[in-house]
């Protein structure tokens, strides 16, 4: 288990929710929901600034695809690791790292949820980063 009091690696992208981690997305006046939050402009309609408001997205969705990576140039990311395409319940499709997602446990359509894992920064500091894992029923 990870120490829940550790700082977050990317606090601009996710936060501790009441029960589970949430993603910090946004919602445009036009109804478009996106991740991550930004105010540059809406990809669907072009409204910008205050037309775009923060919206917490549930860290829950369905796996659309997964792939285990065997070759990766960046040594800070040792292989193998597994990445997934996830359709969040709130709409946006994101890509991120998966945990416990061998092909047997992570076929497309699998229900997945966000969780925190303890990782070390390049300075050796212990922090929490976000992963998605199959929901264990």
């Amino acid at each position: 288990m990870s120490d829940a009091s550790l700082p977050l690696l990317k606090p601009a992208l996710y936060a501790r929710g009441e029960r589970a981690p949430v993603l910090l997305g946004g919602r445009c006046e036009c109804g478009h929901i996106f991740f991550p939050m930004q105010t540059f402009g809406c990809e669907r309609c072009g409204r910008f600034g205050k037309a775009l408001q923060p919206m917490q997205l549930r860290g829950h969705g369905r796996l659309r695809a997964a792939a285990t990576v065997h070759v990766h140039a960046d040594e800070k990311r040792p292989t193998p690791f597994t990445v997934g395409t996830i359709e969040l319940d709130d709409g946006p499709v994101i890509r991120t790292l998966l945990l416990n997602a061998s092909p047997d446990h992570a076929a497309p359509g699998t229900e997945v949820e966000a969780m925190f894992v303890e990782v070390e920064t390049s300075d050796g500091e212990k922090v929490l980063d976000l992963r998605f894992r199959p929901v264990v029923s």
Partner: protein
């Protein structure tokens, strides 16, 4: 009113040339580029001073690489511009060379793609918007995910998808300009180094170095310079687009479908009219996605068509007769221009052992990171 390329004056490809695509070497990019340009000039039987303007497709050479190369042809004082559009840099350079001739601004224009493998900074990592794990998701990871999605949706096996590589390595073995010139069995493709998901090394394009050059000209110029009109190939259409937000379906395939449809419509043909298709097959899965998106077969039917030999040289439509990105290679800047040169060779019936019989119409398709997409139709007159 805006106009299509076809509605402006006709544009013809009159000269083509390559420097072989190859593994990274000590060869200067100047040598790579000049070799391709001199081959294209010789092919058209024209001299360098005749060329009025140059578009250089390059993504990896660094700022202002072009004049340092072109000046060795005898500095003519003519304008040049660099075009960077990721993997589609060469396709973009070609499109704008065509537009310049079609508009009547110039009569003879060069599009040259030249690159050497160098570290890449992807601009979108500098937007200031953070991301969850983009450092873990490089192009082959993106396509490994699409492979997983396609295989699940259409119930195809990894060995079915790998057949694309078997075909394209076989074609590359017949192409002296290809980086990979060795035919491979299905067993060899599957037994190769695992990269990501079910993709193995021989199902991923090699990024090396090389150059490709294409000279386009107006009908006036063909007459004026005594260029052999029987070897001139008409550029029948040019379409370009960028990604829009789409929710459910795959963005690259949707973009490809729309762009190719526009190119076919402008050329007043359908997918059934295509004899040769050079497609952005950087990874095996892409050929399946894009032959379906192009309308060569229904969605989910590409493996069946592939197994039936429909996409072989001699089949209904030769797909990636050059070897495609998988075997010919993907040196980035040259790739889209090399596709145009390959189709020109095919439509002139000069492709030798990889000639598609009676080829009359061809389409070149590229996708660039972002994503951007290009499609050009080439057609011989008779």
């Amino acid at each position: 009113m805006s106009k299509l390329l076809r509605e402006l004056r006709p544009v013809y490809v009159v000269g083509i040339g390559w420097h072989r695509y190859q593994n990274p070497s000590e060869t200067s990019y100047v040598t790579l580029g000049l070799t391709a340009i001199r081959a294209a000039l010789a092919d058209a039987h024209i001299e360098w001073p005749v060329v009025e303007s140059t578009y250089i497709g390059t993504a990896l050479l660094g700022m202002a690489a072009g004049r340092a190369m072109l000046k060795h042809l005898g500095a003519s004082g003519r304008p040049l511009v660099h075009v960077e559009n990721a993997s589609a840099s060469g396709s973009a350079a070609f499109r704008h060379a065509c537009i310049e001739v079609a508009a009547g601004i110039s009569d003879v224009v060069l599009a040259v793609g030249c690159d050497k493998r160098n570290p890449v900074v992807r601009g979108f990592t500098r937007t200031g918007i953070d991301n969850l794990a983009d450092d873990a998701i490089v192009p082959f990871t993106h396509f490994a995910l699409l492979t997983n999605e396609y295989a699940t949706r259409h119930r195809v096996k990894p060995e079915d998808i790998a057949l694309v590589a078997v075909k394209n390595h076989g074609n590359g073995a017949k192409n002296p300009n290809a980086q990979r010139q060795k035919a491979r069995t299905l067993e060899e493709v599957l037994a190769g180094k695992p990269i990501a998901g079910t993709l193995t090394a021989l199902q991923c394009c090699p990024v090396g170095e090389g150059a490709a050059a294409v000279i386009v000209a107006s009908a006036d110029a063909i007459k004026r310079y005594g260029i052999d009109a029987s070897r001139a190939i008409r550029v029948a259409s040019s379409a370009a687009a960028s990604e829009r937000p789409v929710s459910a379906s795959d963005a690259d395939a949707t973009l490809t479908r729309e762009t190719i449809q526009r190119a076919l419509h402008e050329a007043q043909i359908t997918a059934d009219d295509l004899d040769v298709l050079e497609i952005h097959d950087a990874f095996t899965i892409e050929e399946l996605l894009y032959t379906e998106a192009a309308g060569l077969c229904p969605e989910g039917a590409a493996v069946h068509a592939l197994k039936a030999g429909e996409f072989d040289i001699g089949g209904r439509c030769a797909v990636s007769a050059s070897g495609g990105l998988i075997a010919m290679g993907h040196p980035i800047g040259p790739t889209g221009i090399g596709q145009i040169a390959e189709i020109t060779l095919q439509l002139r019936r000069e492709a030798g052992p990889r000639q598609q019989p009676n080829a009359r119409t061809g389409l070149a398709h590229m996708v660039g990171l972002g994503s951007v997409c290009y499609a050009h139709v080439l057609q011989r007159d008779s």
